[in-house]
Structure formats: structure tokens, C-alpha cells
């Protein structure tokens, strides 16, 4: 295979630059007009304090954001798959429970769920703030993931089930060897959006005092009053992380497509 240039990147680069420049100018102009004095020079020290030789609060917060994301992703995938399968087991108690779970999670604000997880569930099971945060985010995203997986499974044709049945494959084997491998590549784009949502939604756990990126920025603002600089900085950090996730997703999609493995299902 010859290397292929991705035309998207070539055209997107000037567009990105122009958009960011415009945004920067708007913020700058607005700040100047309202008499805001910029102190960008203090920002790098919040990432790495060269004088003390230690990591700054934003880096530590980012680390915690990554940890929350990592654990939440793991739990979200396990739980999401389980709920999807439970929902598909039509007419059973399990599928009814899964349905109720789904409705509760999707029809209440994540913020409220986080607070309930921390002050009610966390209290009962003596969860730390960190794990309360991870569980709240996981339960929330798993509800959405289960619907993504379920629709992916349903999109695999009836004939595949019938063929597997007639060959004598067990239900677990049918899922593992026949259905899920076809569902996987189909799910890549929505999964990518889900990971991005998860990273962004993790900012909400700052309400229960978990020192992730957003909370770290808020505390710094309370101390230093560098509100615009800090908000803009963490916005850019989130943006960069999620652009990286998108790129990774697009890369995987190309890889799966190129290998021919279920390529036509993408």
C-alpha cells in the first residue's frame, strides 16, 4: 500500500488557524476594552514550577483527569456491554431492570447523579471522592454506551444469527466470534464521541471536590484571580486531548478498513 495523504488535514489546517486566531482576537479585544490585564507569564508555573522543581496543580489535575478517564472507561465498557446484552434478553427481569436503569440515568442530570453517588451511595459504601466520581461518570456513560452497542448488535443481520445457530454455536460463542466482531468496527465512530464526552463530563466531578483539571483551575482562580488565562488554558488542554482522541479513532478506523476486516461495515 502506498502512503495516502489525508486531504482532510490539509484543508483543515488553515481553517483551524483562522478560527483560533479569530477567537484569540475576540477574547483579547474584549479583555482590553474591559480593562483586563493579562498575566500569561504566570501560567507555565501552574504546569511545572521550575523554582521548586515540582509539578504544578494543573499537571496534577490533568493526571487525575486521566485516571478518572481510565477507570471510567474500563467500567463503562464492562457495564455498557452487560446492559446492552441484558436489554437484548427481551422479556426477562434482567431486561426490565436494564430498561429502568437506562431511563433513570438518561433522564436525570449528571451533576445530580454525581452528588447522589457521592453523598448517598458513597456514604453508605464509604467510597472515596475519587471512586464516587469514577462510578458516577461510568454509570452515566455506560447507559449511552449500552444503547450504542445494542444498536450495533441489532444491525448485524438475522442471517448471521441463524447461520451460527444452525452450526451449533453456543450463544456466548455466537456473540464473541460472530456478532461482536462485526459490531466493533461499526461502533468506532460513536465510541470515539463517547470517549470525548467522558473526558469532558469528568470536569463535572469537581463539584464533589475531586482535584481534577477543572477543579485545579478553579482553585487557582480563587487564589490568583487569573480567570481568563486559566479557563482558556484548560479549554485548550481539553481541546488538545480530544483532538488526539479523534485522530486516534480516525486512525483505527482506517486501519480496520484497510485490513479488509469487516471493512464494508464501517
Amino acid at each position: 500500500m502506498k502512503k495516502q495523504k489525508n486531504p482532510y488535514k490539509l484543508t483543515a489546517l488553515p481553517a483551524w488557524a483562522a478560527t483560533l486566531a479569530l477567537l484569540a482576537w475576540l477574547v483579547y479585544d474584549g479583555a482590553v476594552k474591559s480593562g483586563y490585564s493579562w498575566e500569561w507569564s504566570r501560567i507555565p508555573a501552574f504546569f511545572f514550577d521550575a523554582d521548586k522543581g515540582e509539578l504544578g496543580p494543573l499537571t496534577l489535575g490533568l493526571g487525575l483527569t486521566f485516571q478518572i478517564t481510565f477507570w471510567s472507561l474500563l467500567i463503562t465498557f464492562g457495564l455498557g456491554l452487560f446492559i446492552a446484552l441484558a436489554r437484548l434478553a427481551g422479556g426477562t427481569v434482567l431486561s426490565a431492570l436494564a430498561r429502568i436503569y437506562l431511563e433513570v440515568i438518561r433522564n436525570t442530570p449528571l451533576l445530580v447523579q454525581i452528588l447522589v453517588m457521592y453523598s448517598v451511595v458513597g456514604e453508605i459504601f464509604s467510597l472515596s471522592r475519587f471512586w464516587a466520581a469514577v462510578l458516577a461518570v461510568s454509570f452515566f456513560e455506560a447507559a449511552y454506551l449500552s444503547e450504542i452497542i445494542r444498536s450495533g448488535i441489532l444491525a448485524v443481520g438475522e442471517g448471521q444469527w441463524q447461520a451460527a445457530w444452525c452450526l451449533g454455536l453456543s450463544t456466548p460463542d455466537t456473540f464473541r466470534r460472530v456478532i461482536l466482531p462485526q459490531t466493533g468496527p461499526m461502533l468506532l465512530p460513536p465510541l470515539c464521541s463517547l470517549v470525548i464526552s467522558l473526558i469532558k463530563d469528568s470536569a463535572l466531578v469537581s463539584v464533589i471536590g475531586v482535584y481534577e483539571l477543572t477543579k485545579a483551575a478553579r482553585s487557582l482562580i480563587a487564589k490568583t484571580y487569573l480567570a481568563l488565562e486559566l479557563w482558556l488554558t484548560i479549554a485548550v488542554v481539553y481541546l488538545l486531548i480530544n483532538l488526539a482522541v479523534s485522530e486516534l479513532g480516525a486512525f483505527l478506523e482506517r486501519r480496520l478498513g484497510a485490513s479488509g476486516r469487516a471493512g464494508r461495515f464501517l
Binding site: 442471517g159 445457530w165 444452525c166 452450526l167 464494508r264
Partner: protein, 247 residues
């Protein structure tokens, strides 16, 4: 002579959730080593019958007896019997994410617990038999319809089923590919495999069918053996009308 029956269907009824009665008291038998052809107009319940045989559909009443055991209504026995009936579909239903070789070896390895190397050897022989020895590494999407259907036959054969069920396996094929698939089926019939063949290929039915069952409106209207007798002298008016429309 019932000792010779491998499959015996006894007055089975099947009504779909939609309220449509697809099978209305169908009875028939398939003898060991026999090639039974089922013909009948569209919607007469032929596919439904095959699906009831291999347990893809639950029947409402009656009994499906396979090898002397009543499998209908007995989930465990039916599961045990599932690999013994190989069904080939009109729409192939190959696994698109697997290679031809993987399609064929998946079930023997997972269900029959055959060692991978052995399964591949056996699959190689089957591919040779259906004339596709050079396609082991291909994916279904890279094959023509006729080739895909021959892989599907090989995949079903790999389980060493005791009976093969064919549901209009040439109906979705371009005319020039029908022959290659029918040739494979003729070979199997000649080897003495027990086969139930639903088909619209009347020439094939006449030549290969040791017995013919004519279905209409969810019922068996007529059974004849050998097949040629049905085509030359149908015993019922409904069969005569059906044959007149076709020829």
C-alpha cells in the same frame, strides 16, 4: 420400514406472531440416505418447515422426531441435535469478517472440539470438493455468489451433519452460477448423504429427487417417489396447476 426414517415430522402447526398460519398440520418423513425435494408456490411454508426442523422456529403443535427422538419442545435435546442438521440458506449468510477457511473451521473447532490443524485439513478437503481450494484465504466479499454458496455448503458439511437442508440455495444466484452449485449438490446426493432440498429448479428436482413433496398453503398436498412420477403424472389438481404455471 419406519426404522429407515431419519426425520419424521408429525402434524406440525406453526402460526407466526403476525397471526399468519404458515404450517397447518404438516407431516412427512425423510429416510436415511434419501434426497427429498420440496416444491411449492411462494409462501407455501417450505422455508418455515426447514426452520422448524432445525429449531430456528418453535412449533405450536405436533412433533419433530429426529433419529427416533422427539426434539420439539425439548431445548436440551434440540441443542444437541442442532449440529447434526446442516442448513444452507438462499442468502449464504457467510461470516463476512472471517476468511473462507475461518468460516469453515469455526464451528468444528468450537462445537465439535476438533483441533485447529485437523479442522483446517478437513476444510481444505471440503474446499477441494466444492472446487474452491485456492480461496481459503479470501473473504466472502471477494467471492462471487456461486462461490460464496459453495463455501456455505462446505461450512455446513464441515460439521459432518447427518442431514443437509437446502433452502432455495440457487435462487439468489446469477443463472451462470446455478450450475456449479447444483453440481456440488448432485455429488452429495450421489454419495448417499441424507438431504432435504427446497428448490424451484424443477430439472434438478426431477433428476436428483428420490422423493418429492409438494406443499401449498401450509399443507403437504402430495408426496411422490420417485420424483419423476410427480412431474410426469401429478396426482392432484393443485399440483397440476402449479406445474402448468412453471413449464
Amino acid at each position: 420400514m419406519t426404522g429407515g426414517d431419519f426425520i419424521s415430522v408429525e402434524r406440525i402447526y406453526k402460526t407466526y406472531d403476525s397471526g399468519l398460519a404458515a404450517l397447518k398440520g404438516v407431516s412427512l418423513t425423510v429416510r436415511r440416505g434419501e434426497t427429498l425435494v420440496i416444491v411449492g408456490p411462494s409462501g407455501s411454508g417450505k422455508s418455515t418447515l426447514l426452520r422448524c426442523l432445525c429449531g430456528l422456529e418453535e412449533i405450536d403443535a405436533g412433533a419433530v422426531v429426529i433419529d427416533g427422538q422427539v426434539v420439539s419442545g425439548d431445548a436440551r435435546l434440540r441443542d444437541k441435535m442442532r449440529p447434526e442438521l446442516g442448513l444452507v440458506f438462499q442468502s449464504f449468510n457467510l461470516f463476512p469478517h472471517l476468511t473462507v477457511m475461518e468460516n469453515i473451521t469455526l464451528a468444528p473447532v468450537r462445537v465439535r472440539r476438533v483441533k485447529a490443524a485437523e479442522a483446517e485439513k478437513a476444510a481444505g478437503r471440503l474446499l477441494e470438493k466444492v472446487g474452491l481450494a485456492d480461496k481459503a484465504g479470501a473473504r466472502p466479499a471477494q467471492l462471487s455468489g456461486g462461490q460464496q454458496q459453495r463455501v456455505a455448503i462446505a461450512r455446513a458439511l464441515a460439521m459432518n451433519p447427518r442431514v443437509m437442508l437446502f433452502d432455495e440455495v440457487t435462487s439468489a444466484l446469477d443463472p451462470e452460477m446455478i450450475g456449479e452449485v447444483l453440481a456440488v449438490m448432485k455429488d452429495l446426493a450421489a454419495e448417499g448423504l441424507t438431504m432435504v432440498v427446497v428448490t424451484h429448479e424443477m430439472g434438478f428436482a426431477r433428476e436428483v429427487g428420490e422423493a418429492v413433496v409438494f406443499m401449498d398453503g401450509g399443507e403437504v398436498v402430495e408426496r411422490a417417489a420417485p420424483a419423476a412420477r410427480f412431474f410426469d403424472q401429478p396426482a392432484t389438481d393443485r399440483a397440476r396447476q402449479f406445474l402448468e404455471k412453471i413449464f
